[in-house]
């Protein structure tokens, strides 16, 4: 487990020290591939039974699940970055020093997210989540010499998330306090031990703690009404970073909430936590559906779609029970493949057309057939149309809600999802169809970087399509293992 944490740090240092920018890109790719190789045996062990190390680290099904997503997206983004950064350098948005800093911080960012998934200690998890904020804020504001918007976005991001996450620390303190009154002497923060004493924790104290934690990590996970930083940060960050932010950072923050859930629920009962999560889910989906309709910028549109999907995940977690949680975890996987694909595509469209405004971009499908097709597939999937993967997980969650008799909630969600469906498809059809009057800047498409970039997007689009039709056994058992670690043993 320690090796897994060390590899990205070492890669970050090497990338920062290297001189040639092409070379740095390939080293960073090799680093993330090596990380994947090293992590495979550990992740496989963790899926079958929990493993702990050094007192502070622990892995079980849920951590292994989120960790494999971090690693997978790390590889995808590292590969995509090579050509993207090449292009940024070409048009003068970034300089040589900026590239070294970019790759160094990129791997540090991956490291902090991995640390979130393996920490057993609730306060260590808080430290790691706060560290993700700090590192990614620098990544967002990286191009600041050329674009003042990037500074604005990074400022909003770091201020809002730090204030939010301060409340999560207060929640962690309160949990520690509650554990002291159970144990009598020393308090505990390791959640494996907390879960053993969870039924004995004082319910009203734990309610207070959960509210603080939900507000704190909810800010980071992009749940409305605390989402204001998200569209700015996602639209101004470099596209590979937007993909990481949206695809996996939101999920690591939500992972924090899930961890607390398994401690709080035995003490307060699932009605309290479930209702809060459903409420936040409803607000997020509702607000984002309105903003998606009026959006004039396709990267911001994708950002609001992230808020919508986090709302759906929150709904699934709030409904509770094995099947809703299965749906929520599957939705995490589906969203974190489809959304980065779209951010990758939008990065390329932006490079071709030089704009992120919907009315400046036309005819992507006729001008760039390969990219256009992938964008079209991704947009259909994000909108939740069958036979793509997101349809399956949304359907699972709604089915679980209907089985529990939560008709008003499911009804409201269906309305919002339909609005989002229209919003996303109408936004992207304006980009994809029609004839382009504006001249494209002409992206340099030679070089192995460009081939790799296309390859990684093709693979992701294929995954989006395949997961909509068939969920392979290893993913199925991984998700069940994650569900077990939220609910406790004894589920299937």
């Amino acid at each position: 487990m320690i090796t897994i944490l060390l590899i990205p740090v070492v890669t970050a240092i090497i990338c920062y020290l290297l001189k040639g920018h092409r070379l740095t890109g390939y080293v960073s790719m090799a680093g993330s591939l090596l990380l994947a190789l090293a992590s495979i045996p550990v992740i496989r062990d963790a899926f079958s039974s929990g493993i702990s190390e050094a007192g502070l680290l622990y892995m079980d099904g849920l951590s292994a699940y989120i960790m494999s997503l971090v690693i997978f997206l790390g590889i995808a983004s590292a590969i995509y970055s090579i050509h993207y950064i090449d292009h940024e350098l070409h048009v003068g948005l970034i300089d040589k020093d900026g590239i070294r800093r970019y790759y160094g911080l990129f791997h540090l960012f991956v490291f902090t997210m991995l640390l979130v998934t393996v920490s057993n200690n609730l306060a260590l998890m808080w430290i790691a989540i706060e560290a993700t904020t700090i590192v990614s804020a620098v990544l967002i504001g990286l191009g600041y010499t050329k674009r003042p918007m990037a500074i604005e976005a990074a400022w909003k991001y770091i201020i809002l998330c730090t204030v939010g996450i301060t409340f999560a620390l207060l929640g962690t303190f309160i949990t520690y306090y509650a554990s002291i009154s159970v144990r009598g002497t020393e308090g505990i923060l390791n959640w494996t031990e907390l879960r053993k004493v969870a039924p004995g924790l004082n319910p009203s104290t734990m309610k207070l703690a959960f509210i603080f934690v939900l507000v704190g990590y909810g800010t980071k996970a992009g749940l409305a009404p605390l989402h204001n930083w998200l569209p700015d940060a996602h639209s101004e960050a470099p596209s590979p970073i937007s993909a990481l932010l949206s695809g996996i950072l939101l999920n690591t923050a939500f992972y924090g909430i899930m961890r607390f859930l398994s401690i709080v629920e035995p003490s307060t009962g699932s009605l309290f936590t479930g209702n809060l999560l459903i409420l936040f889910g409803l607000i997020s989906t509702g607000i984002s559906s309105v903003f998606i309709l009026v959006q004039e910028n396709y990267k911001r549109l994708l950002a609001y779609s992230s808020i919508e999907h986090m709302g759906i995940i929150s709904l699934g977690t709030g409904i509770g029970g094995p099947f809703a949680l299965y749906g929520a975890l599957l939705h995490i996987l589906n969203h974190s493949i489809a959304k980065p694909l779209m951010f990758f595509a939008s990065g390329m469209i932006q490079a071709h057309y030089g704009s992120t405004r919907i009315d400046r971009v036309k005819g992507v499908l006729s001008r760039l057939p390969f990219l256009g097709t992938l964008t079209f597939l991704g947009a259909l999937s994000l909108a939740g149309s069958p036979p793509f993967n997101i349809f399956i997980s949304e359907f699972t969650i709604f089915k679980a809600g209907a089985d529990k008799g939560l008709w008003p909630v499911v009804g409201a969600f269906l309305v919002f999802v339909v609005v989002v469906f229209y919003g996303i498809l109408s936004g992207f059809s304006r980009i994809l169809f029609g004839n382009s009057e504006t001249e494209t800047q002409g992206l340099r498409i030679e070089g192995s970087g460009a081939v790799l970039q296309r390859f990684v997007m093709f693979v992701m689009a294929a995954v989006v399509l395949i997961l909509g039709i068939w969920i392979p056994d290893f993913i199925d058992s991984a998700i069940w293992s994650g569900v077990r670690s939220i609910l406790g043993e004894g589920v299937r």
Binding site: L124, G141, L169, L170, L189, D232, S235
Partner: protein
């Protein structure tokens, strides 16, 4: 000696000092005085931890007190003062609401906290007042962040919030394990440094240190 601390309720005195520095922040216009208010606040926090360490005889709390003093009482104030001088902004010009009003409101916030925590679900070990005071400091810090225009004042509001948070955590649990405290402080330090860098960048890019100018991104 221990008796002496209790007779003169030193703990209460120090924590009231923490509250007063937070309230005083609302009456300040010069940015450098706000930084000083923060430094004094941190010294008092560190002193409080030290006194309680002496009272209950916990040796690891002395280390916590020392670390707090160095990071929050020395390093961060010096860094902030450097940023303030570099930006050449000395005063908070036209806050959204007048200083008199914001002093009144922060007084009200203290009253609200005391009124709502009267019953006290928390029984703290060493004082009845510390938890109330810490929550009041958190709220005052948040209030400062909302009502001031300058980027640096927002950072100072955030720092006051975090001091209040540390005080709350300390009064609930006598502090976290040392490694955790160090990690939290390290994160905070990094965060402040990066915020400082961005504050300077905002000044350069927008030719102003007022956050009102950050209005390109909306909707």
């Amino acid at each position: 000696m221990k008796n002496w601390i209790e007779v003169f309720s030193i703990v209460d005195f120090v924590s009231v000092g923490i509250l007063l520095t937070a309230v005083a922040l609302n009456g300040m216009r010069r940015l450098e005085s706000s930084v000083k208010a923060y430094a004094v606040n941190s010294w008092l926090l560190s002193a409080l931890i030290g006194i309680v360490a002496f009272m209950i005889g916990e040796s690891h709390l002395y280390a916590a007190s020392l670390v707090t003093f160095i990071s929050k009482g020395v390093v961060i104030p010096i860094f902030l003062r450097k940023i303030v001088r570099e930006m050449k902004v000395t005063h908070e010009v036209e806050p959204y609401i007048s200083n008199a009003l914001s002093l009144t409101i922060s007084g009200l916030l203290v009253a609200i906290v005391y009124a709502s925590l009267k019953e006290g679900i928390f029984i703290t070990g060493f004082s009845r007042n510390v938890l109330q005071i810490s929550l009041a400091v958190i709220l005052i810090g948040l209030f400062t962040m909302i009502t001031r225009r300058k980027a640096i004042t927002q950072v100072i509001g955030l720092l006051f919030m975090e001091n209040g948070l540390f005080l709350a955590g300390f009064s609930l649990t006598y502090g976290m394990p040392m490694i955790i405290e160090l990690g939290v402080l390290f994160d905070m330090l990094m965060g402040i440094i990066i915020l400082g860098i961005f504050a300077v960048q905002i000044k350069r890019a927008f030719a102003s240190s007022d956050l009102d100018k950050l209005t390109i991104l909306k909707g």
